[in-house]
């Protein structure tokens, strides 16, 4: 599936929630379901700056696709990270760097998108795209 197809899926999934509590309960579920990552990725280098909670994103490149491992110490943020992993994991560097992320606004998480917002969704997206750019530059499109 393309990045946009996955985003559309997520938007549809969230459309069934008419109550904010259900939505956040689902994010918490997603957070709990995020694959456990090795503590070795929780380095200073992988830490996303500007978040009130701590978020680590690690990336590796193999056979034309980028694989991310990520974690956070706040569970709602972990839920948001899980959504980002769904969207970006195992995609080509070029698709990652050229992506346009619109799902957050559509599912009512846009409050987390402003640059001053402390969960740093913007900072996470920026870091993910930077990985895409870096791998693209190194291994080609």
């Amino acid at each position: 599936m393309t990045i946009n197809e996955i985003q559309d899926d997520i938007i549809e999934e969230f459309s069934v929630f008419d109550d904010w509590m259900d939505k956040y309960a689902y994010l918490i579920d997603l957070g709990n379901g995020l694959p456990v990552v090795d503590d070795s990725i929780k380095t200073e280098q992988n830490l996303i700056k500007g978040c009130q909670s701590r978020v680590w994103i690690d990336a590796s490149y193999k056979d034309g696709i980028v694989h991310f491992d990520a974690d956070s110490d706040a569970i709602i943020v972990k839920g948001i990270v899980a959504l980002l992993m769904k969207i970006y994991n195992d995609k080509a560097p070029q698709e990652i760097m050229n992506s346009d992320l619109y799902f957050a606004e559509k599912i009512g998480l846009s409050q987390h998108l402003s640059p001053t917002r402390s969960n740093g969704l913007l900072a996470m997206i920026k870091q993910i795209k930077l990985y895409g750019m870096a791998f693209n530059a190194k291994y080609g499109g």
């Binding site: 904010w20 956040y24 918490i28 009130q52 110490d73 569970i75 709602i76 943020v77 402390s118 969960n119």
Partner: protein, 406 residues
């Protein structure tokens, strides 16, 4: 509790707002308080009726504006019990006040190896200005530790005070825990060795009576916006002879007496420290905020907020897995806590959905969080317009939220 709290709340239009469709419960008063209509109207009145640059014009408006600004200074002087109105310097806030003292005091009185003494519970704004000067002048920053309950280790303080100590700079009330330091004793101990003391009163002046002559502090700093006044205005109080001994901080208009290209002489206090056009509108509105507080009564404010804090603490403790940071008889206005291992960000995000504004995170006091070994806390902080019913809303919301993490 204040009997007329409904009437008081009616003076604060923002308290009638809704957030995410729910009535706003505002418990982030330690970050900034809301403003009563009277204060906002004062700002408007100044701009509509007598806006004009002060201290310069001979024309009518300039004189009215100058008088309003200088009367505001007198209001502040009386409010904190200063001996002279020229001991009141208007700044942009607590942070600028501390930076002013750090830059000028260290420049004048400190040499390599000298020590500045602060405490482990300081806000970053009472750490970083000293670090900057310490780097520049090879000074040492010494830190008084605090106990697990958040109280200052006074024995350690006595040991840290030495012939090398040039200044003690310490919070009256810790913004992260609400602990009230025994400031009078702290000052007496320092003065016994002729060491001046700066009191960061940002979290005390809004909550109870503070008198600089009674305390005998050498400097006292606070912000207008944390005490129902406008943003962008704050106060530096300093004893006359100390302020006179300090060099100017910033250069510009207003702070000079005569200027030639060879030599400039400086204006007298307080103008020496007020370079450029001061915020003569905010100062007038700050004075109005002070009058508003005095109208309610500082003792009544303290009693109301103390009761609220006690009630909130007691109610919070009925929840499972609550840890309170700062447990002491001597607290003011702040309830800092965690529930189980739930990250403060998670709790804060969900409380926000329920219209409840509390602060989450390190509260600009990362060393305090490191000391407790936690990433941050939830901080509910109170003002005189808060009610027990609002505390009940918070507790009810927390109960609903905690289940989501079970």
């Amino acid at each position: 509790m204040l009997q007329n709290v409904d009437q008081i709340r009616a003076d604060f239009p923002i308290l009638a707002e809704t957030v995410h469709g729910k009535p706003l419960v505002y418990f982030d008063n330690a970050a900034t308080t809301q403003k009563p209509r009277q204060v906002v109207e004062k700002l408007t009145e100044a701009y509509y009726k007598y806006n004009s640059n002060i201290h310069r014009g001979v024309h009518h408006l300039s004189q009215v504006a100058t008088e309003a600004h200088e009367n505001a200074r007198k209001t502040v002087q009386q409010f904190i019990g200063a001996a002279h109105d020229h001991e009141i310097v208007f700044t942009r806030g607590t942070t600028e006040s501390i930076n002013l003292v750090a830059a000028t005091f260290c420049e004048k009185f400190c040499t390599e190896g000298d020590e500045i003494l602060i405490s482990g519970m300081e806000h970053h704004s009472n750490i970083v200005p000293w670090q900057l000067m310490a780097e520049r002048k090879n000074l040492k920053l010494k830190v008084i530790p605090f106990f697990d309950n958040g109280e200052l280790d006074m024995e350690a303080y006595k040991v840290l005070l030495s012939a090398k100590t040039k200044l003690v700079s310490i919070a009256h009330v810790a913004n992260s825990t609400g602990i009230v330091n025994p400031i009078k004793e702290i000052i007496q101990l320092a003065h016994a060795q002729n060491i001046p003391v700066l009191v960061d009163a940002a979290q005390s002046v809004p909550h109870f009576k503070v008198n600089v002559q009674e305390l005998d502090c050498d400097f006292l700093v606070f912000s207008g916006h944390k005490m129902y006044g406008p943003t962008g205005i704050g106060v530096l109080y300093g004893k006359e002879d100390l302020l006179n001994a300090l060099p100017p901080y910033q250069g510009g208009g207003e702070m000079i007496e005569t200027v030639t290209f060879e030599k400039t002489t400086y204006n007298a206090l307080p103008f020496k420290f007020e370079a450029g056009t001061p915020d003569y509108v905010a100062s007038v509105a700050l004075a109005e905020a002070i009058r508003y507080m005095q109208h309610i009564g500082l003792d009544a404010i303290k009693q109301h907020e103390d009761e609220l804090l006690a009630y909130a603490t007691e109610q919070l403790k009925t929840l499972d897995g609550v840890r309170i940071f700062g447990e002491s008889m001597h607290k003011s206005g702040v309830l800092s806590f965690l529930i189980h291992d739930i990250h403060p960000f998670d709790l804060g995000t969900l409380l926000d959905q329920m219209g409840i504004a509390i602060r989450t995170g390190h509260h600009c006091a990362q060393p305090v969080m490191d000391r407790f070994g936690i990433p941050g806390t939830m901080r509910a902080s109170f003002a005189f317009y808060n009610t027990k019913a609002e505390v009940d809303s918070l507790i009810k919301a927390l109960k609903r939220i905690v289940v989501m993490f079970a």
